[in-house]
């Protein structure tokens, strides 16, 4: 009986891995696929490989936290309860993937495991508190770092990288497998600089895939590791294989939904966001904290745009060659008889401007809605463990 349940548990873990592959390929390779640099198939392949590398190197740190430290007594990870925990993680992620609502897989998993701990009275509040503090601090760091980049360095970085997406035609990087040894093939008329740019975009996708592996492998396998029945390495292999399946299947959908939103970013911005978010996630994984990748990335995107939009242009800024604030309604905003304000001191409240794009309550709503999927898994798991008496607690 327990053997059967263990197998069912592993099957549900595979379902979770499948959805992780789906939900992280979009943010990681959306820019590269959107700019027509590589195909979806190649994105899926790279995602699988770099996810596995992250999972096998730094991943075990987070598995230990989720499978061993978050609850005081790992014996609550019975084979029955594992099936339920993983069912809620996988189910909630699947809903998110299907509806195109991005969700932090770590929040979803920690939520379900914490719900099990809470329902049985075994939740280690100190560990939980530490994780939650990082969930708040990490996005703020992302916002702040990206905001500084957006406000002071973005034009310089942009001039330095200078890549344009390529519209239509063949992808910029494809693999020529007609010869004996497969080799890269580049788009026609691609300059050296464009090729460098194309590699940069693919490279940051790989970096994000790696960081996702460090943090997210735990979400699929930690409860099973907690039982002590299966060793770390086989579990990581199984989990990564499941993620690979997700990359090649459901990721096609998330590349269209989530990937499409990120494609709105200029490639330079995608690179800045990927570097900031991946650095934060990998750092947290090293200290064993499951990071909320999607929230960190979103706050970095908001920070970058906000930093850029809220620069006030003063005379010195104009002299330094910065463009002045352009606004669609600028020509109609001045009323007759009004004294024109000093240059750079204008309070343009009645004309549409870039900072209108960053209304605090609207951004708060987006971040709040990213917590819907984790909330579904947490509440669902808690109610199940608390009120359905088949788990023997």
């Amino acid at each position: 009986m327990t053997e059967v349940l263990l197998i069912v548990g592993i099957l549900v873990a595979i379902f979770v891995g499948f959805n992780i592959g789906g939900s992280t390929t979009g943010p990681a390779f959306g820019p590269a696929v959107g700019a027509n640099v590589i195909t979806k198939l190649m994105a899926a392949g790279l995602m699988s490989v770099f996810f596995f590398l992250g999972a096998i190197t730094i991943g075990p740190q987070v598995v230990e936290t989720l499978g061993g430290e978050l609850v005081q007594d790992p014996s609550i990870f019975t084979t029955q309860s594992n099936v339920a925990v993983l069912f809620f993680i996988g189910g909630a992620l699947f809903i998110g993937n299907y509806a195109g609502v991005p969700a932090s897989t770590s929040m979803t998993a920690v939520g379900a495991i914490a719900a099990l701990g809470l329902a049985t009275g075994e939740l280690d509040w100190a560990v939980m508190g530490e994780i939650v503090v990082w969930w708040i601090v990490a996005p703020i760091i992302g916002f702040w770092v990206a905001g500084v980049v957006g406000r002071y360095f973005y034009p310089r970085i942009n001039a330095w990288i200078a890549i344009e997406g390529n519209d239509g035609g063949r992808e910029m990087i494809t693999i020529d497998s007609s010869g004996f040894v497969p080799r890269f093939r580049f788009g026609e008329n691609a300059t050296q600089r464009e090729i460098t740019g194309a590699f940069a975009v693919v490279g940051i996708g790989c970096l994000m895939a790696f960081s996702s592996g460090t943090s997210n492998i735990a979400n699929a396998i930690a409860p099973i590791y907690g039982t002590g029945d299966v060793d770390m390495v086989p579990l990581i292999l199984i989990g990564s294989a499941a993620v690979t399946v997700g990359c090649f299947t459901i990721a096609r959908r998330t590349l269209d939904t989530l990937g499409n939103d990120i494609t709105n970013l200029p490639l330079t911005a995608a690179i800045v966001v990927a570097v900031v978010a991946s650095a934060i996630v990998i750092s947290l994984s090293i200290i064993g904290i499951p990071a909320s990748f999607v929230v960190v990335a979103t706050m970095s995107i908001i920070g970058l745009g906000w930093g850029r939009a809220t620069r006030t242009t003063t005379l010195s800024g104009v002299r330094a060659g910065e463009e002045t604030r352009v606004s669609v309604g600028a020509l109609t905003a001045e009323e007759e008889g009004e004294q024109s304000p000093e240059i750079g001191e204008e309070e343009p409240e009645d004309i549409p401007k870039a900072s209108d794009l960053f209304d605090p309550s609207t951004t708060a709503r987006v971040i709040l809605m990213q917590n819907v999927v984790p909330a579904i898994s947490t509440v669902g798991a808690y109610l199940t463990f608390r009120f359905i008496p088949i788990f023997g607690f």
Partner: protein, 141 residues
């Protein structure tokens, strides 16, 4: 008689219907099609994408032109020689529409836009406009 009508539009079937309705019911009115760019999206890529553009105005127009072209097509199909004005605003659609509505006599708006994600992240724009607009609102379904 209604002479100034605001029709907020996005790339959706419902807003097409709103414009068709406005053309039919207010054939002599001056119709302004408003498109709001940089609306909230799942990971905020849309708004930041516009904020990072070298020329904000160009970026906004680029996004809006597809919607305006579609609007002109609808006017041509209705074979009206209506004056079509266009306007662009930034930020949250509901707030932008309400801010502008005071300059018009009526707002004609579609009930909802397409995807679930859009409804979650933007909310129901028609409902918010309907509740807070300073002028009468016609909601087209």
């Amino acid at each position: 008689m209604v002479s100034r009508v605001l029709v907020p539009m996005e790339d959706s079937e419902m807003s097409d219907r709103a414009l068709e309705y406005a053309l039919e019911v207010y054939p002599d009115a001056e119709i302004t099609v408003l498109h709001v760019v940089g609306e909230p999206s799942q990971m905020w890529g849309h708004a930041t994408g516009i904020a990072l553009a070298d020329d904000l105005e160009d970026a906004a127009e680029e996004h809006a032109n597809a919607v305006f072209d579609r609007a002109r097509e609808i006017v041509a199909d209705a074979s009206g020689d209506v004056d079509l004005e266009t306007a662009i605003e930034f930020g949250h659609p509901a707030r932008a529409i309400i801010n502008r509505a005071g300059d018009y006599e009526t707002v004609v708006i579609g009930t909802h836009s397409g995807s679930i994600a859009n409804r979650i992240f933007v909310g129901n724009v028609a409902e918010k406009v309907f509740r807070s607009s300073p002028v009468p609102v016609v909601v087209v379904r």
